[in-house]
Amino acid sequence: MGLSIAVCLKPVPDPAHYDKIKIDPVKKTVVREGIPTILNPCDKHALEAALQLRGPEGTVTVISMAPPNAEETLREALAMGADAAVLLTDRAFAGADTWATSYTLAAGLKKAGHFDVIFTGTESADGATTQVPAQLAEWLGWPHLWNAVAIEQTGETQLKVKTKAESEWSDYQVSLPCLLAMSRESNKPRLTSLMGVMKAKKKPLTVWCRPDLDVDDAALGMQGSPTQPGAIFEPEMGRKGTLLGGDADEIAVQLIGKLRSAGIAIETGDVCAPGGGGI
């Protein structure tokens, strides 16, 4: 018996280009023109985990709530080895916070069929709330674990999962169905082969809009979101920097002077003035 698995994937603007993002001074909106859309980096680990756990008779369905052009990202996931894809797209879903996003994803997953495990990434590169996995599990009434680093199937309906918090590992036993948000440290995502790309063209990609889902309109998109966005701005960063010149040794002498005035005792390596860490 194989497992029926779903993976939540988010197409995001490529984080390698975030330094180019600007705010339109007049419209006060984020300008992200020219930045390519890619599969959220963390989500590749979720997909890899799914492909490893699937087994010969299992299936992996990828799902995304995103604008129509997300089909491309979903094809990429099919090329990596997923069996089917579902895209939830409708203007009514736009502007959703994590509450409304997870609500809509839950409705899509319920319609897509029965799943034993749902995988997600830990965070999206653009919004990076880390909240969607837990909230989706809550809508489904399933147990979940966030930042899973290792999974072991210990029974037909049971997994042993290791998670990582800042300085501690924890082991859990969880019975299916469950949701796991996979850590970057959990695996190394496979590369796409040419063969995979060819096969992906024939795999099913279903698009569902608002009327296809059993959802309450009042809970969708921005109007359904408990949090509402206000102003956006760029963080204050500027510092008046002094440029140090000279060869390496001359620079070293100047630096030592700067470190001394910052209260570092060069003779001993001690800190003269209290400080550090804000504690």
Partner: protein
């Protein structure tokens, strides 16, 4: 959708984090911010902190110094190990009974998870990874959250739902002035029945927990000097220079993400930035790193920022007090030699 009457909700609840029965500093940072909010808007009501765990009375006593008005304690053997379903069920009851206007959580692996769950369980919004929180005279919260790796900040409001919830990373807020001799009200919350109910139904079992290997030396967030290296260091041999300099200065070594990917640093807890630590040392020295917004978010509030980059247009220079355009290996070697010469003189 359900909306609530904001006026019925009063007070600020800080969810404190314990790890191994030890109070995590972020709890004190959140109480510091909560007291500030109360000072700005006394109408918001008192500041309470809730702690969940087992054998945590001593940790609870440590909260007195923060000036928190009330400590709510759930000290139960069943809560010894972190269990998201159980902790969330307990917090849901506490929130529904107390009806706080604001609930603040640490944005840590475990506690952001609880905040997310409670957003659905109590039907409200959660502002994630706030870098600032403000309050108006009507006790409405405005949370400032980063997007696109910190390149953009946005205000988040929660107009119609209560409580207003937010998560905050360790290191973002400072602990408040200590209040010696203060005695907060202590409330022991009777969680017996919610624990029994949850454990009967839950499909999750917490088996065990173990500490990750702690990197040697001073933890990044406590170091007065942080020497941080980036991808441009180029090799493990060059990377060793950072450790040498940090040793000489009594500091710690930090890194950007590529250094983890390259295996020059093995412990993710040494990464600085949006997915890593937020630090504020007296001196930050950044070598061969570009200054991506992901990284800058975690170090821009350091007292003195020194950076070394071979590219004069590197973004890190825009947040630096001292800029050195040059080869990081040469500059670091020169500095190490000079300090050694002074020491041996």
């Amino acid at each position: 959708m359900k909306t609530t009457t904001p006026a019925d909700w009063k007070g600020i609840l800080v969810v404190g984090e314990l790890s191994n029965c030890r109070l995590q500093p972020v709890s004190l940072e959140l109480i510091g911010k909560a007291r500030e909010l109360k000072q700005t808007c006394p109408a918001v009501g008192d500041v309470a902190a809730v702690l969940i765990g087992s054998g945590i009375a001593a940790a609870a006593a440590e909260l007195a110094i923060t000036g928190v008005d009330e400590v709510v304690l759930v000290d139960r053997a069943e809560c010894a190990l972190f269990h998201n379903d159980l902790y969330a069920a307990i917090l849901k009851q506490i929130i529904e009974m107390r009806k706080p206007a604001v609930v603040l959580f640490p944005a840590t692996a475990r506690y952001q998870d609880l905040a997310s769950m409670l957003g659905i369980r109590v039907d409200t919004g959660v502002a994630a990874h706030c870098v600032d929180i403000r309050i108006n005279e009507k006790a409405e919260i405005l949370a400032v959250v980063p997007a696109f790796g910190g390149k953009v900040l946005g205000d988040i409001l929660c107009p119609a739902h209560r409580p207003q919830m937010a998560t905050v990373k360790p290191g973002i807020f400072r602990q408040g002035e200590p209040v010696p001799g203060h005695k907060p009200k202590l409330t022991v919350f009777d969680a017996g029945s919610v624990i029994a109910d949850t454990l009967k139904k839950t499909r999750l079992v917490a088996l065990d927990t173990s500490s990750c290997a702690v990197p040697e030396g001073i933890p990044l967030e406590k170091a007065a000097v942080v020497v941080c290296g980036g991808w441009g260091m180029g090799s493990k041999e060059n990377w060793a220079l950072l450790g040498e300099l940090a040793n000489l200065l009594g500091g710690a070594v930090g890194c950007t993400r590529p250094a983890i990917d390259e295996g020059w640093m093995t412990d993710e807890s040494t990464m600085i930035g949006t997915s890593g630590k937020v630090i504020r040392p007296k001196v930050y020295i950044g070598a061969a790193l570009s200054g991506s917004s992901h990284h800058v978010c975690g170090m821009k509030d350091s007292d003195l920022i020194i950076s070394i980059n071979s590219d004069p247009r590197a973004a890190i220079f825009a947040v630096s007090d001292i800029r050195i355009v040059g080869d990081a290996k040469q500059i670091l070697t020169g500095l190490i030699e000079r300090i050694r010469a002074i020491r041996s003189a």
